[in-house]
């Protein structure tokens, strides 16, 4: 069995472990041995704020930790893009470049990995629990009803750096989830790392546009492949009192409806 | 202008250095010719256009031109009689090919007094439905000051792409008209709330008469 080193990414690690567990389950179901070695940050925030030396330090730690595995899989287009797309750039004048390039070839975003490498056929697993399996149905969760309107947000880095567009949709379709596309799925949600904090007002407006687009298709749930986007959107939606829920695609694929959606209160009882 | 020529010298030195070179070459013309040797005379490298006439008509229409196919110039008179308003003047370009024709409307050779203009295209380009006219053949005013511009295109003068047009006109060092106008449809603007409005400062209408061979 081939090995996968799972890199959770900071947002997942710190804010939403359920995405990590869902991803690991999906990878194990796909027939891989999953390892979660000691990990921290990919260095994107240092890189984007002009401190390449710090980014390189963190990058090398990551590379040396993960290179023993056959694949490195990340449930994020943003961190995935940083590693696969930008690590070569970070090391372009460094003698370690060949090793970096070898490593980067084995790096994948989760949905892309499941579709292209694992060729996972998820038709057997339905997102919405069937009538027999009453143990998994949560009647308190209206989203377990097939009538819930679900839409998808394409994260910028996922789309433009990792080529993630059809993969999550293919997987969702295989699970019986119909995606109601909103307009401007490919327009930035306003996260952008420190941008969302340095330019909070502009970022909030961008998030508002995205939320309005989701509401315009009567969406109940917005799914995405990048937790940072979802934290940003969910946070803004809650502040606005918008009636919209947010989940990571890994959670939806694995059928986790127990965990409260992002920013939602813990279930009582 | 000493400081200017001083700056000019410094600028060239800076550019050469930025390009990893010491200075300008000894023989500028020879170096230039050598550099363009590979590309001069080359085609566009894009997909060939099978039917230039059809493509020209389609693209000219998309650019908001009105198209007519005629066998002789005198057929244009029918349209002129029907469409030119009373009191309007037509300015016909003094191009030899247009001279034999008798025009059925009032003409003028002052662009500032003409509401309609008529000229013959040097060459027409199928890929965009464009016509090329130049300053040795036509006055600027005829092309830009009139309300309606009529351009006659000889079918044999339609080429597929721009590169062929330049080659057919033998454009190169020392060989070019002082002003060449590649015109594609009427003038237009979208400066008011991005709403397209045909007819800005140049002609409001462009009528193209394709003259069969």
């Amino acid at each position: 069995m081939k090995s996968v080193g799972f890199f959770a990414s900071c947002p997942v690690d710190l804010f939403r472990p359920s995405v990590g567990f869902a991803s690991v389950e999906l990878l194990e179901q796909a027939g891989f041995t999953v390892h979660v070695p000691p990990q921290s940050c990919c260095g994107q925030v240092n890189f984007n704020n002009g401190v390449s030396s710090q980014a390189r330090q963190l990058a090398w730690n990551l590379i040396t930790t993960f290179e023993p595995f056959d694949y490195t899989v990340i449930p994020s287009g943003s961190c995935g893009g940083m590693i696969k797309h930008h690590y070569p750039e970070l090391f372009q004048d460094d003698p370690r470049l060949p090793r970096v390039l070898t490593f980067c070839e084995k790096v994948f975003e989760l949905t892309d990995f499941l579709v292209t490498v694992a060729e996972q056929d998820l038709t057997q697993r339905l997102v919405f629990p069937n009538a027999q399996s009453s143990a998994t149905r949560s009647s308190a969760n209206p989203l377990s009803e097939k009538s819930a309107v679900i839409t998808y947000h394409d994260s910028c880095a996922g789309l433009r750096e990792m080529g993630i567009k059809q993969q999550p949709r293919k997987l969702l379709k295989a699970c019986g989830v119909a995606v109601s596309e909103m307009v401007d799925t490919e327009v930035c949600c306003g996260f952008g790392g420190t941008f969302c904090v340095k330019h909070a007002q502009v970022s909030a407006r961008m998030a508002d546009n995205k939320i309005d687009n989701a509401l315009a298709v009567n969406a109940d749930l917005v799914i995405g492949g990048d937790l940072s986007c979802l934290l940003n959107l969910a946070g803004r939606a809650k502040r606005r009192g918008a009636n919209l829920n947010f989940r990571h695609v890994a959670e939806v694929l694995v059928g986790d409806w127990q965990t409260p959606a992002i920013g939602e209160a813990d279930e009582q009882g | 202008m000493d400081s200017q020529s001083d700056f000019r010298t410094r600028l060239f030195a800076k550019i050469a250095q930025a390009n990893g070179k010491q200075s300008l070459p000894e023989n500028l013309t020879a170096s230039f010719q050598q550099l363009i040797n590979g590309t001069k005379g080359q085609q566009s490298g894009l997909a060939p256009i099978a039917d230039c006439l059809a493509a020209f008509k389609e693209n000219a229409r998309l650019a908001a031109c009105e198209l007519f196919e005629v066998i002789s110039l005198s057929e244009i008179n029918t349209l002129l009689s029907e469409r030119m308003p009373a009191g309007a003047n037509l300015m016909v370009s003094p191009q030899p090919a247009l001279q034999p024709c008798e025009w059925s409307v009032a003409t003028t050779d002052n662009a500032r007094e003409a509401q309609w203009g008529l000229a013959l295209a040097e060459i027409a380009i199928a890929e965009t439905g464009s016509v090329c006219l130049h300053s040795e053949a036509v006055a600027t005013g005829l092309l830009y000051l009139v309300e309606t511009l009529i351009v006659v295109v000889q079918q044999s003068q339609i080429v597929a792409r721009q590169e062929e047009a330049w080659q057919q006109m033998h454009i190169g060092t020392g060989q070019r008209p002082r002003a060449l106008h590649m015109i594609t449809g009427p003038s237009r603007t979208a400066d008011v709330e991005q709403m397209l409005q045909l007819g800005a400062h140049g002609p409001r209408e462009v009528l193209i008469f394709i003259l069969a061979n």
Binding site: P38 | L28, D191
Partner: protein, 473 residues
Amino acid sequence: MSNHFVVRTQAALANQQLQSALAKAGGGFVARRQAAIDAVDDFELMRDQAQAVRKKSLADLEIYLAYFEQQVEAAGGRVHWAETTEDLRRIVIELCQQANAKTIAKGKSMVGEEAHLNQALEAAGMTPWETDLGEYILQLAHEPPSHIVAPALHKTKAEIEQLFKQAHTLGERDLSAVKAIVDEARAVIRERFLKADVGITGANMLIAETGTAVLVTNEGNGDLSACLPRTHIITSTFDRVIPTWEDASKIIRVLARSATGQPITSYTSFFSGPKTAKDHDGPEAFHVVLLDNRRSEILGSDYREMLHCIRCGACMNHCPVYQTVGGHAYDSVYPGPMGAVLSPLLRGYNQDYELASASSFCGRCEAVCPVRIPLPKLMRKLREQEQSVVPPGLLQKFALAGFTWLANKPGLYRRLTGLASACLHRLAGGRGRLHRLPLASGWTSVRDLPAPQGGSFQSQYRRAGSAKKSAGK
């Protein structure tokens, strides 16, 4: 230290008229460009060709530029060299004075805007008349442009109506239709071409082989300004020179498609020197004024690719930040993504570095740039360069350094982040989110913070793993 861009964006967000104008413009450019690209099979090849032309033009620029000058002068024209914008203003004024110019017809020129040419001409006692509709509107409003292709994009129809009614004494009339506004501009501006002593335009490209200035427009005013007055002055920059007409065609093919979604503009004109005996008309004097303004520095720097820009505006049409705040927030005649890179390089204002941070790095600009300029990469480079010019806030510097130090120690990182996650979870008290958090007001000023689930993934996975082991699995 306050961020000037942030202050301007707050004003922009609150400006209802601006937001209304932006909403009207927004989707149109994007949709029209996409339609233009969908209509051809080979747009990617066209992009490759255009990029190759810009690259090779710079690689031997000293030769092409010298040849261009030679050709212009062989035709009886003159080339002038302006190191700074002040030099450009001085040269143009001198040329206008030599031509006894009282009135000047101006076609759109970004270089003219960059050099604040109109003000200088007015100060020298001359009357520059803008003839491009967008620029004319701005001249009436006394405002700078907010977009490099559609300069009055920030103006609503109602505002334009008002400006015309105030500026033109034409009595009672209905200007509510776009056609009426454009027709009135046509009538008012017509006299300007016919009367002007000098015409000043920009140039989209300069062709070396024939000493030719290429003008790409839709309205016709540029051509009239170039051909009717006795003197034609072209204000451009030395890096616009390309080798041949065939090369020009490569750029022409991607320019209008990227800018306005047209396969080509109504007028693509090629001007090579003054009127000769063979011509029906044309200017007696033909001057090309070439500006540097630090571009020669850029050429020899890591930002060289920025000089590939063909000024199509696609980047700002697709930029979510530009679409939210408009061009004036950038406080430069070059706004949006290309402006975020070019403005600090040209002006050397420390403030301009803020523009490189005003990006979420979504990458849409790079994706639509017809000549594939790596704009986010260049902005990132500016962020790096900014550190030595404008020292970062101490809080940011130490937070980043501190976090990095911790991140280099995986064991300690896991324990501390596990603790932090658990604490924040408890702080949220089961509500799932936090309204406020010390030191996180940048986030919580506009959003709630979804609470961590309690314990980091790594700490939970470790525990789950040891639970598995102890259960003998």
